[in-house]
Amino acid sequence: MEHIIRFSKVTKRFGDLVVLEELDFEVMAKERLVLIGSSGSGKSTILRILMTLEKPDSGFIEVEGESLWHMEKKGRIVPATEKHLRKMRKKIGMVFQHFHLFPHMTVLRNVTEAQIYVLGMSKEEARERALALLDMVGLSEKADQYPAQLSGGQKQRVAIARALAQRPQILLFDEVTSALDPELVGEVLKVLKDLAQEHEHTMLIVTHEMGFAREIADRICFLDKGRIIEKGPPSRIFTEPEMERTREFLRNYIEVSNAINGV
């Protein structure tokens, strides 16, 4: 299989803090990659750099064989212009922890707006597609409501439909259930599982839901202090992790979830 994303020696700092350090990694086309790691290890930063919300300080990133943050101009490699970034962004969609729905638009318009003004689709086409996507996430009857009228789980499902409407090949999910009440987590995870089953997107998923990670992932990367220190299929990472840090992380995780579940 061929890779669709490749990071080479990507470094990202915030002031003195090195968040990603010469990070190398690849994602295969159609792969479902789950990133795990403790808070502050750089998981969100990886997704945000891919979504062009954050600019790396050094290194190269390739998406579908094209450089993301650089471009060639007269035989030289120069920083990407906004035009280049817009071209690259077409391939990628992102769903955020806190949804970021547009509160002044109805659910339907949240899903049609970018189809109309970014993809240039007609209002009717956009509407039809939006309704189909809302149906897929189980929310077609909420089309005319505003985000403020929805539960967290419903908002997140709208956000997923909104991202899908732009037809990205690559989907980024940053802790999309972390802001939800526990009883609403399931409905969102179900949408993601259905999506993974019925479609062929490349998916990068950051999550603290280990059961879900195990179920959906083709591969798991464990991040520690801006480096991927362990990666492999979930069956191995969860049962026989090689690194002490990974073991410790998973052990903590299990203790915490046992405490929550009162075991």
Binding site: H100, F102, H104
Partner: protein, 228 residues
Amino acid sequence: MIVKWDFAWNILPVLLKAAITTLEATALGYAMALSLGLVLAIVRRSRVRAISWTAGGIIEFVRSTPFLIQLYFLYFILPNYGLTLPAFVTGILGLGIHYSAYTSEVYRAGIEGIPQGQWEAARSLNFTKLQIYRRIIIPQAIPPIVPALGNYLVGMIKDTPILSAIAVVEIMQRAKIIGSETFRYLEPITMVGIFFLLVSLVFSAFIRKVERGVSMDRRIEKAMEIKG
């Protein structure tokens, strides 16, 4: 001094005519202040330093010099550089520019009140910068600042008498002319006062109506009505 009602009645048409000038200058000046202020607020946020500093400089300059001086500058000094405009147009321009410096600050506060996540979501959907302002940020930034913007409408109409300094015959100037011709100031000046009072009340009511009309609560209510 006793109010002469027949005198008041007689000067009413002339005053009303001048009142139209006042209202026109306010309407056009305010339209300009609203649009130019928005442009200034956006330009000021440019990532290009030279551009944002220029906008910031203009805003600072306009805010820290008296309106009268700005009017004189437009009316008496610009003609030296080949730009001669009628008094009325100069007055509108003056009001618009002066108040745009204030509205731009209001817009700025409104824009800064929009959470970062809105920009990021919009960016990830690949909207252009201009589309993000137009479709995502400004529609959310404006409803909360309607009262503050509205205050400047009331403020502006109360500043229109200053236009008399460049020979615009608005309502106050007309009242002064009547006074100097008839030696009676009581009626014209009182009537002008009442005019400003009434207009301010009407404006305030109008602003409250707009405020309610654009509020998110109202939209949600409507969405529920349609459904129910």
